[in-house]
């Protein structure tokens, strides 16, 4: 019985238990709903949960554990000489066996007999059935495959029988427990509470898992390359992976970090004034109609995928800046050579800044609108103009919150990938000319992880070290921003 079918059966039992539970509750109350502790639906839900949840947990555990049990049992059937081989070769043999096991059910009995007599024909016979076998099969593999199939079959049948039995028993138990004073609502709600807890812990556990996996890979990198060479190295030259130990590259983080911060800085230079002014306009001057029209439009910018910004930079902004710089230098020096390259810090910075405008404006807008109306009235009542009120009362009051918002925006700028991949260039250099290309941490992560890879070389593993560095920087920025924003909130409470 397949797992899907099993689930369907369990669901049917649960639905039946729900209906029966409700009916039983209804019958017990004899139509007087006040006689019941909970609404009849809760009794139904309780019965359904008891019928469904324990088998569900059983299935989950069984499916997780049984492959290991079967695996080791099948390995025991291997001949002695195979067991004597290395771990890797045994795994290979087991891989073959499971492939054959997958193919066996497709063969007719005659074919099985023929294959058993001549294992070398197995590859071609299986290929005819659409199952690719990597190498020539050994005779013992067919037996092991048969064992594997048989055990898997037994395991599945056993599981189905157990799960269904458990479900039915659960349903009967629940129905027996149902009584007018039984607190079904509290029970159901407790289960829901656990479900909510589970959902929230999944996000946290995933984060922990991601960090842990990045950390272990990064540690492997730091085994190959000393940490101080990575963090304080000023040359980024990883060479090619697999070119041999003699050509171990240099993995200096500093040029990448410099590029990241420089481009982020240019982006903030664009995004902060524009976004802040837009927010001030929206919060203080715009009529409600204008606001209802302009705010969603501005936020559409935030919905554009960053890759689209990336090719906007690559196709439009970059060439435009290059051409205009050629014109300018032509006017000044007579030599029409562009001094801005198509891929440059300024291109990436400007486009990233445009991307960040909606973040700055919408966060700041929220913060400015949160300044109490009483402060506005107080200032206006003294004969201050709107502009004076904004400059001298509202912005100072909102400043901590705005700084928090800007820090959050900055952490986005640092983590941004697609725009810089397309618009900033790949040259890891340390320089201060914004018209030249530079590269960022994110760009290099993409570079190191694309193409044909050997996963154990430092050239690849460096991506994890870069990733964890980036993660730490943005995490620190976000925590600091949250701290400031929280402190600011207390001001008006």
């Amino acid at each position: 019985m397949s797992t899907t079918l099993l689930f369907a059966i369990l669901l049917v039992i649960a639905v039946v238990a729900f209906i029966l539970g409700r009916m039983r509750a209804g019958a017990l109350s004899q139509g007087r709903s006040s006689a019941l502790h909970s609404r009849p639906n809760y009794y139904g839900a309780f019965a359904a949960l008891v019928a469904f949840l324990p088998p569900l947990i059983l299935v989950a555990i069984w499916l997780a554990v049984s492959p290991f049990v079967i695996n080791s049992a099948v390995r025991d059937t291997f001949p002695q000489e195979v067991k004597g081989q290395s771990q890797a070769q045994q795994s290979l043999a087991f891989g073959m066996v499971s492939t054959i096991a997958r193919g066996l059910p497709w063969l007719s009995e005659d074919e099985v007999r023929a294959v058993k007599q001549d294992p070398s024909s197995l590859q071609s016979v299986f290929a005819g059935k659409g199952v690719a076998v990597a190498a020539e099969a050994q005779p013992y593999m067919l037996d092991s495959a048969a064992t594997l199939n048989a055990m898997a079959q037994t395991s599945r049948t056993l599981l189905s029988a157990l799960a269904i039995a458990l479900s039915v028993v659960g349903a009967f138990f629940a129905l027996r427990v149902v009584a007018p004073r039984f607190r079904a609502r509290n029970q159901v709600e407790r289960v829901m509470l656990w479900a909510l807890l589970l959902a929230s812990s999944i996000a946290i556990l995933t984060t922990v898992g991601i960090v842990a996996s990045m950390l272990t890979e990064a540690l492997r990198f730091f085994n190959a390359v000393p940490a101080h060479e990575f963090f304080f190295g000023t040359v980024w030259d990883p060479r090619f992976a697999g070119a041999g130990a003699s050509s171990n590259g240099q993995f200096g983080l500093i040029p990448l970090l410099a590029g990241t911060l420089y481009i982020g800085f240019v982006a903030m230079l664009v995004a902060v004034p524009v976004g802040l002014f837009a927010a001030i306009y929206m919060a203080e001057y715009a009529s409600p109609r204008m606001r209802s029209l302009a705010k969603p439009l501005l936020e559409v910018l935030a919905g554009i995928p960053t890759i689209v910004y990336g090719f906007f930079a690559l196709v439009t902004v970059g060439p435009f800046l290059r051409d205009i710089s050629a014109q300018l230098s032509g006017l000044v020096t007579g030599n029409y050579a562009s001094f801005i390259q198509a891929q440059s810090v300024i291109t990436a910075g400007i486009v990233m800044g445009i991307m960040l405008i909606p973040y700055v404006s919408s966060l700041s807008d929220d913060i400015i609108t949160a300044v109490p109306r009483a402060l506005r009235d107080g200032s206006l009542g003294l004969g201050a103009t709107r502009s004076e009120t904004i400059k001298r009362v509202i912005l100072p009051a909102a400043l901590p919150g705005i700084v928090g918002a800007l820090l959050m925006t900055a952490s986005r700028a640092i983590g941004e990938t697609m725009i810089v991949v397309l618009a900033a260039g790949v040259a890891a250099r340390m320089q201060i000319n914004p018209f030249e290309p530079m590269t960022t941490v994110t760009v290099k992560i993409v570079n190191q992880l694309t193409g044909d890879l050997e996963f154990t070389s430092p050239q690849t593993l460096v991506a994890f070290a870069l990733g964890i560095t980036l993660f730490c920087i943005t995490l620190a920025l976000n925590i600091y921003a949250l701290y400031i924003v929280r402190k600011y909130r207390e001001q008006y409470e």
């Binding site: 009529s287 409600p288 109490p372 009483a374 402060l375 506005r376 009235d377 107080g378 200032s379 206006l380 009542g381 003294l382 004969g383 201050a384 103009t385 004076e388 001298r392 009362v393 100072p396 009051a397 001001q491």
Partner: protein, 271 residues
Amino acid sequence: MNIMTEAATEELLEKKMNAVPLKMVGKDVSVFYGDKRALYDVNLNVRENTVTALIGPSGCGKSTFLRTLNRMNDTIDGCRVTGMITLDGEDVYDPSIDVVELRARVGMVFQKPNPFPKSIYENVAYGPRIHGLAKSKAELDQVVEQSLQKAGLWNEVKDRLQEGGTGLSGGQQQRLCIARAVAVSPEVILMDEPCSALDPIATAKVEELIHELRTNFTIVIVTHSMQQAARVSQRTAMFHLGNLVEENDTDKMFTNPDDQRTQDYIMGRFG
């Protein structure tokens, strides 16, 4: 011939009233919030160096009327004012009038103390600074000190002028807001239930202050408390459902009102 005719009495009263010049005059003032009408053709005069109290049950339009006097209603979306309000004979809703200048002449103190999140000194110096009323730091210091003194707060805060204004107690905050309004040297001060968020002791202090301020300023105060109106004001106006019911000398208003509704309200029969 001590018995005066009714007409003669009227004439005498008229003369007495006219002796005090009118600072602000509201003529047929109506206010709309969107489609909803909040005030119906109110005619109300504010006399110079007098405390005028506006009373009435909640939602009767007294605060709305107060806010029309310095056009604070302009900041509310969808608010429309018709009729005429004059300050020293000038129409305050005339397009040629600068609303900023008007608010400098007609200051306002709000229901809830709303000091800016700045120091005490900066709170008071805010108005003089934006209007350029002080030419030097010393002059500004003087304005701040005088204003705090007028608001009866100087002795309590003179040693901590650089501390935050929000750190003061509620009553002190409200007097700080009064000092802030006074610092601009307005001609009229509007107070919108200035004591409703204060305890009785702080209220007594603010009321005392209103008494003193009367010598230099014209004051219009909205209050929920009839005792307060009786204590601080010389003239009282009673609003009900957006209409001005009665305007009279405070003494007369609380002893022998002309209108039955005023009588009922003062006796606590509604409100």
